[in-house]
C-alpha cells in the first residue's frame, strides 16, 4: 500500500529535512527560512536552552553539513544537470495524518520543504522550478479545507512580499500559472502583486501552478489564439473580413499561448508519495520529461531525494536526448 510504503522511511527523512532547513538558516545571509515563518516544532519537542559550547558545536556541524552539501553538488554537477524541475507536492495530508497533527500543519511543513527544495535547486544551478500547488479539481474538497489552503497561500505570499530574503537570495522571478479568476480576491491580488514585484528579476524562475489544470491551460491557449485571429482577421469598418482565410493553427501557435511560454519544458517531473499519475499537470509540456515518483511524502522530500532524482535523470539523459533528435520532425 502506498501509505505503508511512505511511512517506512519517514522518521529519518523528516528529521533530515528539518536539519537541512536549520542549516540553511545558518548558511544563508539572514535566516531566510525564519523569515518565511517555519512552522513551530511539534508539541512533543521542547525548545532547547542552548549553551554556548553547544552553539559552537551546532555551528561547526552546520558548516560541515554545508561543506558536504557543496561537495556533493560539485560532484553531480559534473554530469548533465536539469534546467527545469517540476514538482507535484503530494502527501501533505497523509503526513499530517501519520503524525497525528492538524491537517493544516502538514501543508505548512510542505511549504517549508518547498522553500528548502527551492534553495537546494538554486545551489545546483537549476534555472526553472514549477510546482503544482493547487489543482482546479481540488475545489471539490471540503470547503473548510479549501478555505484554509487559500488562507495559507495568502499568508505565505504576503510573507514573501514583506520579507524578501528568499526572493533576493535567488533573484527569483515568480509566476502564477492558472485560472487566477477562480481564486478569492485577496489571494489573487497578493499573487498579482508578487508577480509584478519580481517581474524584472533575472534569476531562478519559480512558477506556482494554482489553480491549474493542463486541459484548462490548453483551452485557455485556444481561446486566446482564436481571439488573436479574430482581431487580425479583418477590420470592423464595414469591409468584409478576410473570409476566414487564416493559416492553420499550429503546435507552435499554441505553445506561444501556454502559461509556460518562454520556459523550457521540464526535464524532470517529480511526484512525491509514490503516486504514478500526473493528475492533469503539464501534460502538454512533458513529452520528453523524465517522470519520477519517489516514495517519501512531500514534507519529507529533502536534499538527498533531490540528489537521487538528478542522478536518475543523468542515467537516462543520453536516451532522452537521442529520442528528442529522432522525433524532432514531429515537434
Amino acid at each position: 500500500m502506498t501509505g505503508t510504503r511512505a511511512r517506512r522511511g519517514s522518521t529519518t527523512t523528516s528529521h533530515d529535512s528539518q536539519k537541512a532547513q536549520e542549516n540553511l538558516h545558518d548558511g544563508a545571509p539572514s535566516s531566510s527560512l525564519t523569515s518565511c515563518r517555519l512552522p513551530s516544532r511539534p508539541a512533543t519537542q521542547n525548545p532547547k536552552m542552548e549553551k554556548p559550547d553547544e552553539l559552537i558545536t551546532t555551528g561547526v556541524l552546520a558548516s560541515l553539513q554545508n561543506f558536504i552539501r557543496k561537495c556533493i553538488v560539485a560532484v553531480i554537477s559534473y554530469g548533465p544537470m536539469p534546467k527545469h524541475i517540476a514538482f507535484i507536492m503530494d502527501g501533505n495530508r497523509r503526513y499530517a495524518k501519520f503524525r497525528s497533527i492538524k491537517e493544516g500543519s502538514g501543508h505548512r511543513m510542505g511549504f517549508s520543504a518547498l522553500i528548502a527544495s527551492l534553495l537546494y535547486c538554486y545551489e545546483m544551478g537549476v534555472e526553472y522550478i514549477t510546482v503544482y500547488a493547487f489543482s482546479i479539481d481540488n475545489f471539490k474538497r471540503d470547503p473548510a479545507e479549501v478555505q484554509s489552503l487559500m488562507e495559507l497561500m495568502e499568508e505565505k505570499i504576503n510573507e514573501l512580499l514583506e520579507n524578501r530574503n528568499v526572493i533576493n537570495k535567488v533573484n527569483c522571478k515568480m509566476n502564477f500559472w492558472g485560472n487566477l479568476d477562480l481564486l478569492s480576491e485577496p489571494v489573487r491580488l497578493a499573487a498579482q502583486k508578487l508577480m509584478a514585484s519580481t517581474a524584472e528579476n533575472k534569476g531562478l524562475v519559480f512558477s506556482v501552478c494554482m489553480p491549474y489544470n493542463s486541459t484548462s491551460e490548453i483551452v485557455n491557449a485556444v481561446n486566446e489564439l482564436c481571439t488573436e485571429r479574430r482581431e487580425h482577421a479583418g477590420n470592423c469598418n464595414g469591409n468584409s473580413p478576410n473570409n476566414g482565410v487564416h493559416s492553420d493553427i499550429s503546435v507552435e501557435d499554441l505553445d506561444r499561448h501556454m502559461y509556460s511560454a518562454g520556459c523550457p519544458d521540464p526535464d524532470i517531473v517529480i511526484r512525491t508519495s509514490g503516486e504514478t499519475r500526473l493528475s492533469n499537470f503539464l501534460l502538454w509540456q512533458t513529452t520528453f520529461s523524465h517522470l519520477q515518483n519517489p516514495d517519501p511524502l512531500w514534507p519529507e522530500f529533502s536534499f538527498r531525494h533531490l540528489v537521487w532524482a538528478i542522478l536518475q535523470y543523468q542515467r537516462v539523459y543520453p536516451y532522452i536526448e537521442q529520442t528528442k533528435k529522432l522525433a524532432k520532425k514531429l515537434l
Binding site: 483551452v219 479583418g234 487564416h246 499519475r277 519520477q292 536516451y319 529520442t323 529522432l326 514531429l330
Partner: protein
Amino acid sequence: MSRPSVIINLTLGLLWFIVHLAINFFSLWSHLIYNIEYYLISFGLFPKYRKFQLERLKYLAVVVDIREAKNVAKIKQLLCWLSTIGVKYVCLYDIDGVLKKTFEPAINGSRDVNSGSYLDVGANMKVLTCCQKEMTVEYISGSDGKEGIAKAANLLCSTYFNGDKDTCGNDEIVFTEADMSGALKAIGCGGPEPDLLLVYGPARCHLGFPAWRLRYTEIMHMGPLNSMKYGAIVKAFYNFSKKYQNFGK
C-alpha cells in the same frame, strides 16, 4: 586552465563516474531480484498475483520506444499476453507512428462492425483475436497528440468564424473543455482515457501521449520491450488494482 583546476575537475569526474558505477551495480542487482520475482509470478507461485480483480482496468495504453516499435514479434507477444490476462482494449502508442505504419494493412483489412462503439476514435483500430480471446487494439502516434489538439483548435476556431457573422463583436471567445473534447472526437482523436499506461523503454517518459487522454492515467514503467516479462505485467496490474484515486478531492 590552471593545473589545480584541472586536477579538481578530473577528481570530480572520477567521483561522478564512481557514483554512477555504484548506482548501475545496485540497479543490476535489483533487476536480477525483480526478474526472479517475475519468473516466480509467471509460475503462479504467489497467490495474491493469481487472485486480483481487473474490473477497474477497462482501457489500457502502452507507450513503446521508437527504436523498439519495429519489433513486430515482441509487440504481438505483448498483445497475446495482455489478451491472456483479460484486457479488452489496448491503445498502442509510439511517437513516430511506426506501429500505425507497420500494422496499417492489417487495420484496413479487418475493421469489425462490432467495434462500432469505438468508431469515433478513428480508423486506426482493429479487433484482434489472440489466444482465443477478443481484444480491441488501437494504434496512435505523436500526430494524435499535440498535432491532434492543434487540429481540434482549428476546427473550433473555423466553426466559430464561419458561424458568427459578426466577427467584430467584442464578446470574449470562451471555448470549454467539453467543446475541445467534442472537437477531438470529430477529428478522430477522441478515444477513451486509459486507466493504466505501461511505458516500454529505457526511461519513464510518456513521449507525447495525447494529453486529453492522460489526465488521471496511472503510468508505470516496464523497462525495455526486448526484456519484457509476463510476470512484470501481472505485477503492474496487481499494483494498479490496489491504487485509489481521489480525483483531486
